[in-house]
Symmetry: C2
Subunit: 535 residues, 2 copies
């Protein structure tokens, strides 16, 4: 009989399977997992002060590393706290492994204070859920769980699982897997680590479907190619750009993709507008909508008297196979054999002056964005009309978007991205209301000395809701309703909040101040926060 | 056809049913509800910057008002963010009404970014879940939902639903009900408010069971009466104390009850210890365990080689009916006709001096606790061995405990308690690690000018986990595991954090400083925070 307990076998299996980071907010049921970290330095434990930070960080890590980190969560309430950012990870097709400790098996019948339905919570957000029955199971279950995170999720029939060995694998195409670990499975002896399980290989596009798409592209009929996942990697964009230039096909991507390689040297693609009526304009006259790793375009919300489906009436929809980069490359070889992609040129905006507005703050970022930055974008209304243009000619960077619209993603995402890619600068663009959801991420940034510059876009309101209130046709007379969307009275002081968590912070009310503070923050390692007060 | 839309009918029905406060973090799907607040000033909208604040506040309101507030939540991720504190509310048998907006019905099929399984999340934590089908349904569904919050929950076969009309109803005995409201049900016209639905009447104890319990009490065999819910009201405690004095029955309550009336003028009861082995000592030789609104005692967690069930081997368990105060009063009339209850006398601890320890901070609180305070206790390890004794002879107060062990309850609970009882001082005793879960509650305290004094017990660690790590037998060598339980490096500065949210704050490192700051805070209306750094 092995002298390893289940928790040791679990952690060793994770390490053998390529999981090297665990973002955790553990509790009593996870103490053996925590103790196992002492003997396995290859697993880096990162303490997060709320589960929403742990799951959001695992998402950011998954998007940038192309393989999962673990998020260690405590029973049902701990899992529930992490669900919003697991939801974002699910929508991003990030590989994320949630490990949820449960009570010991014979304790689960006692209706003790923390008893709840972990399985139901896990199923609501995971493509794969398993409950380990014993210490013996933990090794094999852990290996299967890691493979499941790299599989094509149930939500993404056409996504590419990519090349797991590529050091700079781009485009995420995994899913959320949840392993539920009863405490007695962790503490019981006799467990053995398991060998890694190969991840599923993405399916190539079928021959008929390929011929159909190729024929559509050559037909001259108006077509749009919607890129997401691996199609938004440099390789995907180069192939798509060749196709577009050869055939007149227009290229689009979601408003907020999981990971979008863009900027100087990278072919450009137009994001869908946030408002459905604007997307209708973008897709006007399109007869063929070709989905390359993307979902069909829909509005985020329903509105009275309007359809939320944005596929143009009468247009045919074509879905690519799971192996998107290969498919795009093959298509380009056929329809654009002699056409080269045309990357964006380096063209930063002029440094603006004067008060901070949605335009000027974005231009400051565009003017100063460092080479190969990772931009975690949860600027929402403050950036949706301005950030893409202001950074289109900035040095090449990855933009990570708010995939599931569950707010509170940005600060944790930056934690995970910075740990996955410590050599790259991380910029977090964070709306004020959203920042308040997962603010303790700043403490982890400080503890781990992460090179993250956070800009809080403080417009002192849930600005998107002010717009939506009108768009859904809700008749207001001010007063009570206005108060539910307003974040002033009292004003949040993000400099004080960041300082309280150990992150140096400054405040900017003009473009000049933002420029000065941002340049200084980028020049100094470690986390910094700048509160940009928008006029 | 009525010209009211569904949201107006919903809010009018809530007001007619006695729901006067809505703690909300709304999104697009709830904009018609928000707009309806403009026309119904009888419904107070309270903005919370995270759903965990909204649900925790609704719990605190329910515990102190004895009727529900609404928590307005946005889709599945918003509900998920609020689940941990709904879990605490469920365990407290608080009446809480969660209203969750969903996408418009025809939008739910589109797999839009925020789509998730709201129903599954709601069922995991609610005794009652309904999804309204149309605007017509919203009035009747809202009335049924309010009644459901006042019903006896599925988890509490022996709890008392109490007297809904009593102005100072004590002891909570409701449950969490969740109403899911598609956006089109809110915005469609032709809706009508519904009349209130009577809450279910609690069942009286059966005649046979009553005779059995009475016989047990008169038998002279060693018995323990475990009080919870309404049994911990003054009326329940007076009856129980008479029974105890007449029969030698010992009185106990949970370690952290939902609401416990105690202090000078109130008969005392002994809380169960946190550690199971200590509860075994408390219940030694008990032959009869009589549960008055209480669950059977169990440990919070399982430990290797030990049972988590704490009912003494061989003891018989007797459960009272749902109408607990009536049952206790009838029993007292039979077994203790001539016995008067003996309330605790006023006996504050001497004001301590020197460094702040788990003992001295609690004594400062005991020395200064104002008359009729509401104490929200999430001090956990910092108070579990010291707070009950230090406040046993303080002026009468209500102590609200961490019922479900999902941390992050205290600050929001204080918000709800203060809104339910604006005339009473609220003291929130909050552990550092737990405070970080729902810190934005401070902003709502500031915005609503609530008279809450928060003391952060800052021991710079997850102290309970350090103890549990050892108790579960996890072998550690320090290093990595210690780092996962330590909240220093960097130290959290709660003065800065509170200031950043508009709450005036001070820091104390000695009993003298805590005494000075606490006295000043209690003498000044509005929210205050004191960071007590424990040595």
């Amino acid at each position: 009989m092995s002298d390893l307990n289940g928790a040791h076998a679990l952690v060793r299996t994770l390490v053998a399977s390529g999981v090297e980071v665990c973002f955790g907010n553990p509790g009593t049921s996870e103490m053996h997992f925590v103790a196992a970290l002492d003997t396995l330095p290859a697993m880096r434990g990162v303490l997060c002060l709320h589960e929403g930070v742990a799951t959001g960080a695992a998402d950011g890590y998954g998007r940038m590393a192309g393989r999962p980190a673990a998020a260690l969560l405590h029973l049902g309430p701990g899992l529930a706290n992490g669900i919003a950012n697991l939801h974002n990870a699910r929508r991003a097709h990030s590989p994320v492994l949630a490990i949820v400790g449960d009570h010991a098996t014979d304790h689960q019948q006692l209706d003790s204070p923390l008893q709840s339905d972990i399985d139901a919570l896990a199923r609501s957000v995971s493509s794969w859920v398993r409950r380990s029955g014993s210490a013996d199971d933990l090794g094999p279950d852990a290996a299967a769980a890691v493979a499941a995170t790299m599989g094509v999720s149930r939500d993404a029939p056409d996504l590419d699982a990519g090349d797991l060995d590529a050091p700079d694998r781009t485009g995420t195409s995994g899913s959320v897997a949840t392993l539920i670990v009863p405490a007695d499975a962790s503490w019981s002896p006799g467990a053995r680590p398991a060998d890694p399980v190969p991840a599923p290989v993405p399916a190539a596009i079928g021959a008929d479907a390929f011929r159909t798409v190729a024929a559509v592209l050559r037909s001259g009929e108006p077509a749009a190619l919607v890129l997401d996942g691996a199609a938004l990697s440099e390789a995907g964009l180069r192939a798509a750009d060749r196709i577009a230039r050869a055939t007149g096909t227009r290229l689009f991507c979601p408003t907020w993709p999981a990971r979008w390689r863009r900027g100087a040297g990278i072919p450009a693609v137009e994001p869908f507008a946030y408002r459905g009526e604007d997307v209708v304009g973008q897709l006007r006259d399109v007869r063929h909508l070709i989905l390359a790793g993307a979902r069909p375009p829909v509005t985020s919300f329903g509105y009275p008297g309007r359809s939320g489906a944005l596929t143009p009436p009468g247009a045919r929809v074509h879905r690519m196979g799971a192996d998107i980069i290969a498919t795009l490359t093959r298509l380009a070889a056929i329809v654009a054999p002699d056409i080269a992609p045309v990357p964006a040129t380096l063209a930063r905006p002029a440094m603006p002056t004067g008060p901070l507005t949605n335009r000027t703050w974005a231009e400051v970022v565009g003017a100063l964005l460092p080479e190969n930055a990772i931009v975690c974008d949860e600027s929402i209304t403050a950036g949706m009309g301005t950030l893409p243009a202001a950074t289109a000619g900035a040095p090449a960077h990855d933009l990570l978007g708010l995939t599931g619209l569950a707010i509170g993603q940005g600060l944790p995402l930056a934690v995970g991205a910075a740990i996955a890619r410590p050599e790259r600068p991380v910029i977090c663009l964070e709306a004020d209301g959203s920042a308040m959801y997962t603010l303790p991420a700043l403490w982890t940034q400080a503890r781990e000395h992460l090179d993250i510059t956070t800009i809080i876009l403080n417009n002192r309101s849930y600005a998107i809701l002010r717009a939506e209130l009108e768009r859904v046709g809700a008749a207001t007379t001010g007063g009570a309703s206005a108060r539910m969307l307003d974040l002033s009275n009292p004003n949040l002081d993000f400099v004080a909040l960041a300082t309280g968590m150990g992150v140096p912070a400054t405040k900017a009310t003009t473009a000049e101040e933002l420029s000065t503070h941002l340049a200084a923050a980028l020049a100094t390692p470690g986390p910094h926060l700048i509160e940009a007060v928008l006029g």
